[in-house]
Symmetry: C7
Subunit: 96 residues, 7 copies
Amino acid sequence: MKIRPLHDRVIVKRIEAERTTASGIVIPDSAGEKPDQGEVLAVGNGKIQDNGEVRPMAVKVGDRVLFGKYAGQGVKVEGEEVLVMREEDIMGVIEA
Amino acid sequence: MKIRPLHDRVIVKRIEAERTTASGIVIPDSAGEKPDQGEVLAVGNGKIQDNGEVRPMAVKVGDRVLFGKYAGQGVKVEGEEVLVMREEDIMGVIEA
Amino acid sequence: MKIRPLHDRVIVKRIEAERTTASGIVIPDSAGEKPDQGEVLAVGNGKIQDNGEVRPMAVKVGDRVLFGKYAGQGVKVEGEEVLVMREEDIMGVIEA
Amino acid sequence: MKIRPLHDRVIVKRIEAERTTASGIVIPDSAGEKPDQGEVLAVGNGKIQDNGEVRPMAVKVGDRVLFGKYAGQGVKVEGEEVLVMREEDIMGVIEA
Amino acid sequence: MKIRPLHDRVIVKRIEAERTTASGIVIPDSAGEKPDQGEVLAVGNGKIQDNGEVRPMAVKVGDRVLFGKYAGQGVKVEGEEVLVMREEDIMGVIEA
Amino acid sequence: MKIRPLHDRVIVKRIEAERTTASGIVIPDSAGEKPDQGEVLAVGNGKIQDNGEVRPMAVKVGDRVLFGKYAGQGVKVEGEEVLVMREEDIMGVIEA
Amino acid sequence: MKIRPLHDRVIVKRIEAERTTASGIVIPDSAGEKPDQGEVLAVGNGKIQDNGEVRPMAVKVGDRVLFGKYAGQGVKVEGEEVLVMREEDIMGVIEA
């Protein structure tokens, strides 16, 4: 992995809908902001809190996570498009 | 259950209006944002407060909860549609 | 009572205008956001403050309270419509 | 007095313009949000601060106060219309 | 002086443009929000901070202060129009 | 200097574009909010923080500073136009 | 380097798209806010936190960083255009 995210940012590789169905999770196709899922490729050191301490991340590399469809920004790393988002944008971890 | 919600998020299965009536709670049909109810399927570890401590969740798995009609985001888990919302969106627990 | 409000929420049964006049309080009929009154049916444990402590509620079951006309959300409990609001929405307690 | 205001709320009886002139304070008649004055009829226990402590009120019953024309909400108590506002809405105390 | 300002409020008497020139300060006449100056007639006890302590005022009675043209609200005291503003609205003290 | 800025305010004399080029810094002429530079004429005592302490200023009299083109308010002091802005508006100090 | 950034500001020299491809990172050309990258030329002392302490910067001179396309303000230093942004605008550090 080539990007080290700062603070509470997470790099996620979106998982395609086909693979989604196989895991038993189906994302509805209707309009509006919909959840999506992906695999965590890299995480920051954690969010810096108001008291100055760093809060460790609640997700780790390899986690399959659920997030809002429009969360994060896309960037290509060695030809592969990934998302950079904040831990806040992650709704949950999918436990297979 | 396949999703582990992060922090103060809650996964709720909406309870249909028919079952609602049976429990003595009726949701009015008029327009606007209306409360709704459901059963808690999973809860996060709790909200991280400004002082860095984690506040335990005030709802638990199995609770029947009341929430705003448009709270949360819908996602399908093994063919069943559930809502992912924050504890903040939950107005109260229905005690049968 | 069938709903246990979370945190700083309060369940209030609106008191009709006729009964209002009897207690000596008259709500003006002019347009705009106007105060209204009701009886407290249930209260949460209190608001969770920034320092993590719970602040006890300033109203209790049985109190007659004054609140903004559009405060809270309506829900029917065993055929009776009540309001779920926050303590913040309550302007004062009417002492007969 | 029949209403006990919650927290930092204050109940004020507006003083008419005629009486205002007598005290030497004249409120300009031009358009826009203009200050107004009244007598304090009741005060809450004080504002709950971020650190959980209650800050005593800076005004007391009987004070003649200056406030923004559109501050507070009107309510009738035993046929007399009063205003319920927050201490924050009060600009100053008029010392005769 | 007839008004005791609450907390961090300041009562200021605007100084006319003619007197301004004499002191060496000229307020530009172009459109937009422009600074203005006045004399402090009364100050509150100070702003109540998040930690509950009162911060003493940084201006005192008699100071000549600079403020945004539209800061404060006008009110007449014994026939003389003054401004009630917050210390926050004051940009600086003019030292002759 | 005739103005003592309050708290975290800074008085800055804008440096003309001609002098700017001489120091090796060129401000682009294209449209939009562009940085600008000036010399610090006076600084306040510092910003009052949430914990009630005063944070000393990070700029001092004589510093050449970079700021957003529309930062601050213009005021004339003894015929010379200066800017009153907040330290927050200053992007950096130019070290010749 | 001629600019010393204040607090949590960072001076970044944008890296052209051609050099980007060589390092294995490709920025997509589609419309909207897209990430971009550059080299850190100077950093401030760090962000001043709510508790008054300074948080050291998470990036250092020489780091290759990823940021939102419209982050920061452009300024020319000795004929070279650089960006002044906040650490908050930096999404991650690219580790070659």
